[in-house]
């Protein structure tokens, strides 16, 4: 492999990894606070993409010309709000009643919600893939020589970094963030200190789902074919990324996402490209066998 090809694959891998990272953030936060893998997370990602699909033709016509970036941001923000609402709703209806139950019960419920969103999506939106509108015109940047970086890749990267920073800020500097960390550390003590667990949980879900929604739009911009089943595999892979980085650990999720993206890209570009799917799982199993805490995790349940 020439060095140009190598660097190009790195670029491809990192940009793919950015999506996994965004989705992984949601997984890792919910796990940190609730010790529970939200299987339906990947499907919130899908709903984000569809929100963007239906919002764009209604919003963008009002923001033409120089106002376009504002329009795009509006679609993004609205989608994030919608997904946050959906996430909170799911938690309220399906997970909250089961808080005292064994974890497996909630896990099954999460699977049920995931299936419902997927097949319900097929029922409501139709099963065929839809072409996602071009909010950002995708073309390769100039002056990059032999390498290719596209506008969507850059946009996705920037937004991801921005959201990552914003998330870290919320978690480290705000009261709600502190509450989240408290609950993830020791829920009983947190409750004793006056933290409203319900609010914190809702907030966590809302935040995670908003990120998934954003990921959905960015993903749909780069791969403009959306369908109701699109969240399944990215969801699982993002989970692998979260575990890789140390579940419950925010920077870990980002790092995990990038690593997974890069590894997948290199495998995909090689002769073994048919095994690409299996790689994510093999990686997962390897990590769980040799270092279950992930890269940044500590053996005990981890902080947000």
């Amino acid at each position: 492999m020439s060095s140009a090809e190598f660097v190009q694959q790195i670029i491809n891998g990192v940009s793919l990894g950015a999506f996994y990272a965004l989705i992984a953030l949601g997984y890792t936060m919910v796990y940190g606070v609730l010790r529970f893998i939200n299987f339906a997370h990947g499907d919130v990602f899908m709903l984000g993409a569809f929100s963007g699909y239906y919002l764009t033709p209604r919003i963008m016509p009002h923001f033409q010309g120089a106002w376009t970036p504002v329009g795009v941001s509006a679609v993004l923000v609205l989608t994030m709000l919608i997904c946050a609402a959906i996430g909170i709703l799911i938690e309220r209806l399906a997970y909250r009643p089961l808080r005292k139950m064994p974890k497996l019960t909630v896990l099954i419920t999460a699977i049920g919600v995931s299936l419902f969103l997927e097949y319900g999506g097929q029922f409501v939106f139709g099963a065929d893939p839809k072409a996602f509108p071009e909010l950002i015109v995708d073309h390769a940047l100039e002056h990059t020589g032999v390498l290719t970086i596209t506008t969507t890749q850059v946009a996705a990267f920037i937004v991801t970094i921005f959201l990552l920073v914003a998330l870290t800020f919320i978690v480290k500097r705000t009261r709600l963030g502190m509450a989240m960390r408290a609950v993830s550390n020791n829920p009983t003590a947190a409750a004793l200190m006056g933290v409203n667990i319900d609010t914190v949980v809702s907030f966590t879900f809302g935040l995670g789902s908003a990120l998934a929604g954003a990921a959905g739009i960015l993903y749909a911009l780069s791969y403009p074919s959306i369908d109701p089943l699109m969240g399944l595999l990215p969801g699982v892979k993002a989970f692998v990324a979260a575990v890789l980085g140390g579940i419950g650990n925010i920077p870990g999720a980002a790092v995990g996402g990038v690593i997974l993206g890069v590894v997948e890209t290199f495998v995909g570009g090689s002769k073994f490209s048919t095994y690409r799917d299996a790689i994510a799982f093999a990686l997962l199993i390897g990590i769980l066998l040799f270092r279950p805490a992930g890269i940044f995790g500590k053996m005990q349940a981890e902080k947000v």
């Binding site: 492999m1 090809e5 099963a127 893939p129 072409a131 074919s225 570009g269």
Partner: protein, 379 residues
């Protein structure tokens, strides 16, 4: 609570069987199984629409065999293996279908075919291109061409028309259609002086959306064209990513590309690329135009490649029933086998001795929503 709802269920079940029995009458029962939900729902829904359109036309035109209407029983196989088995058994044994239409995916046709063959019920596949499907037995037919033919079509096109000698192939390894086409393309291409400079693969069906890794690797091998024998769902994305990576050579594909969504998803990236298919909507043939119009009226959408195949399958079946003069399965089978030069929406169809359709393929070039007709390749 459990026992209460369970007895209610039993009552409902009993009631439903009574009702089902009472609706059987003079109708000609035709069974159809298709992937109406699941990962390949797009193809199943479209071919099913085509069949439905044909059925309505026949029924409103007075039905068959002196006014008998066609009763279409459609079963969804959810795009999952294991389902066609029970679906077709139900159609044959419970619904007493006299013929079965289905499926698009060769894998699911392969599952159902032995059942139809054993029950001696004719089965017509609208779109399965794997040669093995009709090998199952003499009651299994198809109205589309098979992969060996289609693979050679594009290989020939590449060599003779595009005049390229170095091609890369990107296969959808989860899709037997794609794997089959790859093999036949390779066979012809390399046997006639061409070289495959790079072969990569991906997992289609919605799983993989990022092909940059494979494309980067392909780009390094410097092909003059890339053969992408997959479905339009991926082809559009592949084209976009290829262009953004700086790959400028043309892409080629098979009938899996045939859908209005191809250019929606692929945009300017897929402009100018080529694919082989069954018919061209631009075809001035009044039959085609008529079909497109009726389809749009009923379903408010443009038909893709599978819809006319479903339509033709039903129409050919109807014609065979008329020739057979009754619903005797053996007679219908013989009538089907004798189909010659049937004027279908997807071209002139002749059923050969292997019960495959001998038809020409057309090569189209993507041009916005209208694909430009380039050439016809006869078998």
């Amino acid at each position: 609570m459990k026992s209460f709802s369970r007895s209610k269920l039993v009552l409902l079940a009993a009631l439903s069987f009574v009702m089902a029995a009472s609706t059987r009458g003079q109708d000609i029962v035709v069974g159809e199984f298709a992937s109406l939900t699941g990962s390949e729902a797009t193809f199943g829904i479209n071919s099913s629409n085509g069949v439905e359109l044909a059925k309505e036309e026949i029924n409103s035109g007075g039905g068959l065999l002196g006014g008998r209407k066609i009763k279409l029983v459609v079963e969804d196989d959810q795009s999952k293996p294991g389902q066609p088995s029970s679906a077709v058994k139900k159609l044959v044994a419970s619904d007493k279908a006299i013929a079965i239409l289905g499926e698009i995916a060769s894998s699911r046709s392969l599952e159902a075919a032995p059942i139809c063959q054993e029950a001696k019920i004719p089965m017509i596949s609208p779109g399965s291109t794997n040669p093995r499907v009709t090998d199952v037995g003499d009651y299994i037919f198809r109205v589309c061409f098979i992969d060996p033919f289609q693979g050679t079509v594009m290989a020939k096109f590449a060599l003779d028309t595009l005049k390229v000698k170095k091609v890369a192939i990107l296969t959808d390894v989860k899709n037997d259609y794609s794997v089959g086409l790859t093999k036949y393309f390779k066979d012809y291409f390399t046997a006639h002086g061409g070289a495959i400079v790079s072969e990569r693969s991906f997992s289609g069906g919605g799983t993989d959306k990022d092909f940059r890794a494979q494309l980067t690797s392909i780009k390094a091998a410097q092909p003059e064209a890339i053969f992408v024998p997959g479905y339009y769902t991926e082809a559009g994305l592949i084209a976009k990513q290829a262009r953004s990576l700086g790959i400028k050579v043309p892409l080629m594909g098979g009938d899996g590309w045939d859908s209005p969504k191809l250019s929606e998803i692929g945009g300017s990236a897929i402009e100018g690329c080529y694919f082989s298919t069954h018919f061209s909507p631009q075809d001035k043939n009044p039959k085609v135009q008529d079909f497109v119009k009726k389809y749009q009226e009923k379903f408010k959408a443009m038909p893709d490649g599978m819809a006319p195949l479903g339509y033709d399958a039903m129409m050919i079946l109807a014609s065979a029933i008329k020739t057979a003069g009754g619903t005797d399965a053996a007679k219908i089978r013989d009538a089907l086998a004798a189909t010659k030069d049937y004027d279908g929406v997807t071209g002139k169809i002749t059923i050969d001795e292997k019960r495959n359709a001998t038809k020409s393929a057309v090569v189209l070039q993507v041009h916005g929503k209208q694909n430009d007709y380039v050439t016809t390749v006869a078998p």
